[in-house]
């Protein structure tokens, strides 16, 4: 493990996580959720879980985001909280 990198990534994860929950624009929140997944996937790689990272990249940052965007596009983009 590389401690500083680890810590930075974890920090990013926390920040993007909070942001994804707090942003009122759902599309934006969704995109940030995608980046959250992406940082997570970097952490996994850093911990040696390449397969999981691969999957997370495909799913969390890829298909998941697409699904979210499609759904948000079909519904409302604004959220009150």
């Amino acid at each position: 493990m590389i401690l500083p990198l680890d810590l930075i990534l974890l920090l990013f994860v926390v920040i993007t996580g909070i942001a994804a929950l707090q942003i009122k624009d759902l599309l934006g929140a969704t995109i940030i959720l995608g980046s959250f997944s992406f940082f997570m996937c970097l952490i996994y790689t850093e911990m040696g879980a390449v397969d999981v990272a691969f999957t997370e990249a495909c799913v969390g940052a890829g298909v998941g985001t697409v699904l979210f965007i499609a759904a948000v596009h079909k519904t409302k983009r604004r959220s009150k909280d």
């Binding site: 493990m1 810590l7 974890l10 994860v13 926390v14 996580g17 909070i18 994804a20 929950l21 759902l26 929140a29 969704t30 959720l33 959250f36 997944s37 997570m40 952490i43 996994y44 911990m47 040696g48 879980a49 390449v50 397969d51 999981v52 999957t55 997370e56 799913v59 969390g60 298909v63 998941g64 699904l67 979210f68 499609a70 759904a71 948000v72 079909k74 519904t75 409302k76 959220s79 009150k80 909280d81």
Partner: protein, 128 residues
């Protein structure tokens, strides 16, 4: 004490993320926000599992050519079992997200809003 905190920092982050997700699921009113919370929640648990599986000084769980025939030292490779479990968990997570999004769209088609309190009000009005 300091060392105790540092030695498990992954776990602290995972607990924080999980709480974040749980809060999103319960406290947020927008359905998509709830779902985002749910995703964070699940990913946090995955982080926890991956943290279980990691070993200091080990490499990714793919055998190198010289280790193929049974001479592999388990200490040199990450613990593969949590990874396997988490593959499944990720898939389950995306499946749940998919179904939930489908349901959200059904909800929206019916109520034309995604805010939980507004939906409750509409339901109260229509007497259902």
């Amino acid at each position: 004490m300091f060392e105790y905190i540092v030695s498990k920092y992954n776990y602290w982050v995972y607990i924080f993320l999980m709480m974040l997700g749980l809060y999103g699921m319960i406290g947020k009113k927008n359905l998509v926000k709830k779902l985002i919370g749910m995703n964070i929640f699940q990913v946090a648990i995955i982080l926890f599992y991956i943290s279980i599986g990691s070993k200091v000084g080990a490499s990714i769980p793919i055998l190198t050519a010289e280790d193929l025939h049974g001479s592999a030292n388990p200490l040199h490779y990450m613990n593969p079992l949590p990874h396997v479990l988490m593959l499944t968990a990720i898939v389950v997570g995306i499946a749940t997200t998919g179904v939930a999004l489908g349901i959200i769209i059904m909800v929206y088609n019916r109520y034309k809003t995604l805010a939980e309190d507004e939906i409750l009000e509409i339901r109260k009005k229509s007497g259902v």
